[in-house]
Structures are given as structure tokens and as C-alpha cells.
């Protein structure tokens, strides 16, 4: 539930679809291998094509990699500022002038498997913004943002819901 003191500009954004965008590259194996390596995940779905063929009808990505496919390159031609994922989160930090932020809760619902070669699209939806809160990190606001992911066939592959806390440390300007 959102706070009652929110500026109209923020109230208008709640429930609105924002930042519909395509991933910058198709789902590919390099990042799948690197991710599995990073957590020593030996699940043969991601290493053995015969097992993947038998169980999932072909190679897939680990379901929890869903956000990986829409994180932008840190730099690309023509870009003058580093791109940021989850732009709504950074918009809220800027709007409320909260220089720091952390993510506190994350819920992911997995639908169609993400397959090697898929081209995913995402869209972001702000769900709520809290009243000002003070935690051990500082004073700021909590917000909930949903990210929906679809594949090239317009099939829903997942919905990720983030709770972020934007804050200003005590004593900072």
C-alpha cells in the first residue's frame, strides 16, 4: 500500500507500464555457463544437451537468470552515460533526492522456460511507494516495482517483483 503523502507525479505512475524495451542481445550460452560456474551449479540441463533435450525439449537458461537478459551493457556506442537496469528504481531515487539505495525483497514467478536464442522484452510497473521511513541505513522510502518478461512469441516467461529502499545516510548532505 502506498503512502498518502505522495506527489501527484508519483501517484500517476503507480500501475502504469513504463520502459517497455527489448534485451540488447539474445539469450546465449556464455552467460549461462558463467552463471552456473559462479555458483558451481552442475545441473545437467545447462551442461548436457542430451539431458536438456530429454527433460526440457532443448537448452534453457537457469530460471533465476531472468533479469540477466535485460541488464544493459555498461557502455555501448552513442551512449554518454552508463545505462542502468530497473530505471524506475533510479527515477524514484532522483525524484525523492535519495542518493543511496538497496534492494530488500525479491519475488520471482517463473512461467515459460527461457530458451537459448530467445529475444526477451521487459516492462516495468511501479506498484507502491511508502511513507518516509528510518532504518539503520538512513531515512528514505520503500518502493515495489514489478518487471514483466515476455519472449518473442509474446509468452510470459516471468514476473519479478523488487522492493527497494532509497535512503540518505544520517549526516549526509
Amino acid at each position: 500500500m502506498s503512502a498518502t503523502d505522495l506527489p501527484e507525479a508519483i501517484v500517476k505512475l503507480i500501475g502504469e507500464v513504463q520502459y517497455e524495451e527489448a534485451g540488447e542481445f539474445p539469450v546465449e550460452r556464455g552467460y549461462i555457463y558463467t552463471t552456473c560456474s559462479s555458483v558451481e551449479n552442475g545441473n545437467p540441463l545447462f551442461w548436457d544437451d542430451d539431458v536438456a533435450s530429454d527433460v526440457t525439449g532443448g537448452p534453457i537458461a537457469p530460471p533465476t537468470m531472468i533479469s540477466v537478459w535485460f541488464r544493459p551493457h555498461n557502455w555501448s556506442p552513442g551512449r554518454t552515460e552508463p545505462a542502468v537496469p530497473l530505471q524506475v528504481h533510479f527515477d524514484l531515487k532522483a525524484f525523492f533526492d535519495l542518493p543511496e539505495a538497496v534492494m530488500t525483497d525479491n519475488t520471482i514467478v517463473f512461467h515459460e522456460p527461457v530458451r537459448v536464442g530467445d529475444r526477451l522484452r521487459t516492462r516495468q510497473i511501479l506498484r507502491s511507494v511508502s511513507e518516509p521511513k528510518t532504518t539503520k541505513l538512513g531515512t528514505g522510502r520503500f518502493w515495489v516495482i514489478d518487471v514483466e518478461y515476455l519472449n518473442q512469441n509474446d509468452e510470459l516467461v516471468g514476473v519479478e517483483s523488487y522492493t527497494g529502499f532509497g535512503y540518505r545516510r544520517e549526516g549526509s548532505q
Partner: protein, 162 residues
């Protein structure tokens, strides 16, 4: 072939209260940085000590959210084998995981059920701790095969209700 490759946990093998075998892992700076870059997370608090300490106010660089999700997935599918299919995962970070920590993932089966479509589900509560302190708790809902002929990955549309 790894144990995961041959393992096939069936719904009937699981009961509420069962413990998922614990995983203990010594976290290094490489663990944190590799995990962040694998997730294409370039934010400096996951690789830049000075930024993490002086801007974020944390004691060191720390593990990012998507990499924690990947650790939870690995922990759970080590237990189920490849026919276990994640439906939903919710986690709350109460503290950060830093280089030098030995993190321990441990899980308890909360419930076992079959839905209206005949899909078997288990809900597992997973705790990530460091020196006994809870850092992240996670609730995961996974589909498991009912028998050797069942495969949750074959479910689509209305037959998949995560």
C-alpha cells in the same frame, strides 16, 4: 556425471518437515565479483571496496541479489535433480554476504501438495546464514514429478500454475 545429473526426486519422496541437505561455501571477493559480472550487474558496490565502504556504508563489497537467487536455485536443484522445476521464489535480505564469510544454505520442506491440474508441488523454506546469523530467507515453490513418467517441464499454459 554429477550426482545432480542422476538424481530424480519424486513428490512421494518428500514430506513436510524434511530437511534439504545443507550447503556450506566459503565466500571470497572472487565469488562476489564473479557472481555480479555473471549477472551483468556492473554496480560498484559489488566490485569496488572503496565505493562499498565509503558510499554504501557497508564493511566490504557484498553479494548481489541475482547471484543470491542463483545460489538458491543451485541449492534446491542439487536436491531435486534436473526434473525439479522452480515455480516461484521469494527472498528477503536481512544482511549482506561479504568476502571472508562462510555462508550456509539450509532448507526445510514446509508443505507438499498436488494442484487441480495434477502438478506436484513442494514449498521449501531456505535460510542463508553466516556464523548462525540469518542473512537471507527464501521461500521457494518447486514442481516435482509424481512418478517416472511425469515431467513438470512439459507443463504449459493453464497446466502450469506457479
Amino acid at each position: 556425471m554429477s550426482a545432480t545429473a542422476t538424481r530424480k526426486l519424486l513428490l512421494g519422496d518428500v514430506h513436510a518437515g524434511d530437511e534439504v541437505p545443507a550447503l556450506s561455501y566459503p565466500v571470497t571477493a572472487t565469488t562476489i565479483v564473479l557472481g555480479a559480472l555473471a549477472a551483468r550487474d556492473w554496480r560498484p558496490m559489488h566490485h569496488d571496496y572503496d565505493f562499498a565502504v565509503n558510499r554504501n556504508g557497508t564493511k566490504d563489497i557484498f553479494m548481489n541479489t541475482p547471484n543470491q537467487a542463483a545460489w538458491f536455485e543451485r541449492f534446491l536443484t542439487d536436491w531435486t535433480g534436473p526434473t525439479g522445476r522452480l515455480g516461484r521464489m521469494k527472498f528477503r535480505m536481512k544482511g549482506s554476504v561479504f568476502p571472508g564469510d562462510t555462508m550456509v544454505l539450509a532448507g526445510t520442506v514446509e508443505s507438499v501438495e498436488t494442484d487441480d491440474t495434477g502438478c506436484g508441488w513442494v514449498t521449501v523454506l531456505v535460510r542463508l546464514t553466516v556464523d548462525g546469523d540469518l542473512k537471507t530467507d527464501c521461500t521457494a515453490r518447486l514442481a516435482l514429478p509424481l512418478n517416472d513418467d511425469d515431467n513438470p517441464w512439459s507443463r504449459r499454459g493453464d497446466r502450469w500454475r506457479p
